[in-house]
């Protein structure tokens, strides 16, 4: 690991000013950054820890909406009964990351800011319709999670901007996340699919489908969602939704599996997550 200057600011404004400099990196849980610095794929001249800034940590519930601070550990998201009950897909996604030891370090803000298309919490946040609060020395703004990513490792965040919080509006009545993987733990998602639905007497009043690791960014399968809204989940509709989700996937082939396999599996996994989300609703 190369040497760097280490900063522990106590305010967001100070952190933002430091982070706006060249060759600066934010340190949240460190599970990506520290490994990257060891591999010399990351060689920051300054590392800015967010640990001492108050108010970035923890899960708070207000009425129907839940707010998750960016520095909240992934393990806390996984074990939170509010998240488990109301945003099950997100809790399930959190439980799929690395190992317990890694989830005790890794933060949800880091998992998202790293902008891996395969991040395990991202599909759950997509189907929760999460808003991402962002702060900088110039002020605050908020973007929808599906507008945050611009490419692998790339986001709309400007230099100096820091994710502070994820705000989840009123929850769907049932949701589910499936990670397609080889190993039970310590694996990256070949594909991640989340679905969230609201039902009224068996009719789907709202549906959201989030796809990870099948496009340059995490994406919503809006065509499939539109097919579902206003209808009951018949075998035929399920098939159409699966096909519509697969149609928006533009996966790559890599050493873990081929693009063709990924596309086919988006269809299969979309059907499975939808069935489970509906069963839970």
């Amino acid at each position: 690991m190369k040497g760097f200057e280490f900063f522990e600011p106590t305010t967001l404004a100070e952190a933002s000013q430091l982070f706006a400099q060249e060759h600066a990196q934010l340190l949240a849980g460190g599970t990506d950054l520290v490994i990257g610095m060891k591999a010399l794929t990351e060689t920051p001249q300054s590392v800015i820890s967010l640990q001492k800034i108050p108010g970035l940590d923890g899960i708070t519930t207000e009425g129907d909406s839940i707010s998750i601070g960016a520095m909240t550990k992934v393990r806390e998201v996984e074990l939170s009964s509010d998240i488990q009950n109301h945003h099950t897909a997100l809790a399930e996604g959190a439980s799929e990351i690395g190992s317990v030891q890694i989830r005790n370090l890794a933060t949800i803000g880091g998992n998202i800011a790293h902008a891996s298309p395969a991040a395990d919490t991202v599909a759950g946040l997509l189907v929760a319709d999460a808003q991402v609060d962002i702060a900088s020395a110039d002020g605050e703004r908020s973007v929808a999670i599906d507008e945050l990513f611009t490419g692998p490792g790339q986001t709309v965040l400007a230099p100096g901007e820091i994710i502070t919080r994820f705000r989840l509006p009123s929850p769907a009545s049932g949701s589910h996340y499936i990670k397609h993987k080889i190993r039970e733990v310590m694996d990256l998602a070949f594909i991640g699919v989340a679905a969230a639905v609201n039902l009224d007497n068996g009719t789907i009043t709202d549906a959201r489908i989030g796809l990870a690791a099948v496009a340059p960014t995490p994406i919503r399968a809006t065509e499939a969602e539109n097919l579902l809204r206003g209808n009951e989940l018949t075998a035929e509709l399920l098939q159409q939704a699966g096909e519509a989700a697969a149609a928006v996937a533009s996966p790559i082939s890599d050493l873990r599996c081929s693009a063709e396999h990924r596309k086919e599996m988006v269809d299969v996994l979309t059907r499975r997550t939808l069935q489970e989300a509906v069963a839970r609703a």
Binding site: T31, V47, Q101
Partner: protein
């Protein structure tokens, strides 16, 4: 690069140190303080050999910068036995033969300890899943799991 003063609380002892920010907690424990019970395996967070407990949570110390754990309570394998008595986990690993070369053992014991402290009422399946971040290349895990379940039983009945 400037060194930073840190105050590490390891196994109840305080160490006031001046360390480089790039030093991992693992390196500080092993090289600076001299506690070599914590092992360096993969150094990328994949194997769990370097597991220690920080403020009650098991973490892979190879991914933690030493400068970020000042004032936090750190427990390593050296801190488990008290008054010459082994921790139930240590005794159970001996009794069941839950180790062969022993390199992964401190990591397994620290990961298991955090789980037991949190809640010893875990099913075998839960222990299997939650110890998934620890790798052993000798035993095939059967005896390790036996040891953890034995210790969990002991902790439950003595509680």
């Amino acid at each position: 690069m400037a060194k930073h003063p840190v105050s590490l609380k390891v196994n109840g002892d305080e160490y006031d140190l001046l360390i480089e920010p790039r030093k991992t907690l693992l390196a500080v424990l092993r090289d600076t303080i001299g506690l070599t019970g914590t092992k360096e395996g993969c150094s990328t967070g994949d194997c769990g050999a370097c597991t220690v407990i920080v403020d009650g949570k098991a973490v892979t110390s190879c991914m933690v910068l030493g400068v970020t754990v000042s004032e936090k309570e750190i427990t390593t394998i050296e801190g488990l036995a008290s008054d010459g008595e082994l921790h139930p986990l240590q005794q159970a690993f001996i009794d069941t033969g839950g180790y062969q070369c022993g390199f992964c053992t401190p990591g397994f014991i620290m990961a298991s300890k955090a789980l037991l402290d949190e809640n010893p009422e875990r099913s075998e399946e839960e222990f299997r899943y939650e110890l998934g971040g620890n790798i052993c290349r000798c035993t095939g895990y059967t005896k390790i799991l036996e040891a953890v379940l034995k210790a969990a039983e002991e902790v439950r009945t003595s509680a």
